[in-house]
Amino acid sequence: MKPMITDRGEELTVGILAGDEESQRVLALEPVGLDDLALAREQALLDGLRAGVLPSDFTAVSTQLLAGDTGGKDRLKNFRLELSHGSAVYRRQFPIAALARVARRAEANLRAQQILTDGMEASYFVTTRPAQSMDACNDVPCAKVRSEPLVLEEAPLDDFLGHSEVLRGPALRSKDPDPSAPTEGDLHVFIPEDVWDTGHELARRGDEKESAGVWTGRLMRDTRSPEVFLHIDECLIADHAAEEKYSVEFSGDTWGDLRTRLEQRRRRLNRPHERIVGSVHGHNFSPEPDANGRMTCESCHLLPICSRTTAAASQDDFRWHQMVFAGQPWAILVVYGWNARDEEEVRCYGLRDAQMMQRTVRILQT
């Protein structure tokens, strides 16, 4: 793993403590690697793009990690990424919670080694330390980048907002808003109603097995502000995939087929900037009953939202999304499932605060 080095030549490091944050017993120091900061960098790139500071060609943007404010004992309260392109500079501050996954990884290693045992609590802090080592150079000769710059088409955001409605989720049949679903601040994503319905069909196509599709669309820039938004154009079937009850795996032929059909759409519809921008799949199974064989909980009749649901992204879903959409912070992940009341649900996810979080989309009336 290639460690991330700060502007002061130090490694950003997560420390694991036995007990709470006041504990002095440090069990492990886990270096923060390039991959660990990928979502933070993407968040900063997206925010910088939406602010009109950074270009859409992210390969031209350089990144510098800055150690943030210290909160005593050399422990950091935050960290910053400074992105620059020529004279344009964009800085984004992140709380240490953005490194929680590094702490979870270190804690899992400690538990696997029995250093942390059942019942032992752990907490974490973030600090810097002198750089320990650097990975060996990549042993494939450096490549020449030949990617085409990402083009933002111009369109009036107000028109899209005026002809669309927020889909809050999760319950498709219920009108109750989901309190956890955000409404402000996220990148706007617009999906025509018929395309949304196609995504639904593809997610459910597998019947009792998982099945999937991918969203294609175009990035837009508002004609009256630097704001960027995403317009979804189509949902393409993920054919030739290995569809199982609890997973769906895209094969080489799946990707070959998707790329061919996208290329056909670009030519036929004269949309050279349409691209793959997300995925949709169905968890086409119900929650497991509890130990007493009951599907719903005691207070089911009192709760507006059922929390026992399969319409939630798994860690595998997030990992797949990151492997496919690295460097594309606008990409969305949509998951259909069923709750314990046998109601169909859907949740959408996207990048927020350097984490994949539940988000809304806007459905365009067609």
């Binding site: 793993m1 690697g33 390039l34 991959d35 660990d36 990928a38 390969t59 990549n138 042993d139 494939v140 000769p141 450096c142 490549a143 020449k144 980048v145 030949r146 990617s147 085409e148 990402l150 998982e210 999937a212 290995a242 609890y246 997973s247 769906v248 795996e249 895209f250 094969s251 080489g252 032929d253 990707w255 070959g256 998707l258 790329r259 996208l262 691209r275 793959i276 995925s279 799949h281 798994s314 860690q315 595998d316 879903d317 990992r319 797949w320 990151q322 492997m323 496919v324 959409f325 690295a326 460097g327 594309q328």
Partner: protein, 97 residues
């Protein structure tokens, strides 16, 4: 003793090798020159993914020959499976769960 060749394998290793690689979404396209053709395809896939800034900790990738529409065998030399100037796609080895 002659080495058994897998179907579609070349009878010699092309080395060094030039190729173009893209990620599955087509966002990144990189030209590689002078790559050691004796390296296994899996090994090259990881190096290419790294240069594309795809996540590589606990993540695996394979390569697909786009023009011949076939996956490359991970444990075979890349130079035995593709021609010079091949167009390769980096395929994530992962599933939605």
């Amino acid at each position: 003793m002659a080495t058994m060749l897998a179907p579609d394998e070349l009878d010699e290793v092309i080395d060094p090798l030039d190729f173009t690689a893209t990620d599955v979404t087509g966002l990144r396209m990189l030209d590689f020159e002078g790559v050691d053709g004796h390296r296994f395809a899996s090994d090259v896939a990881m190096s290419v993914a790294s240069q594309m800034e795809l996540p590589t900790s606990a993540s695996k990738y394979s390569l697909r020959d786009d023009e011949r529409a076939r996956m490359l065998l991970d444990d075979r030399p890349l130079g035995r499976q593709v021609q010079r100037g091949a167009k390769l796609v980096v395929i994530p080895k992962a599933h939605l769960g």
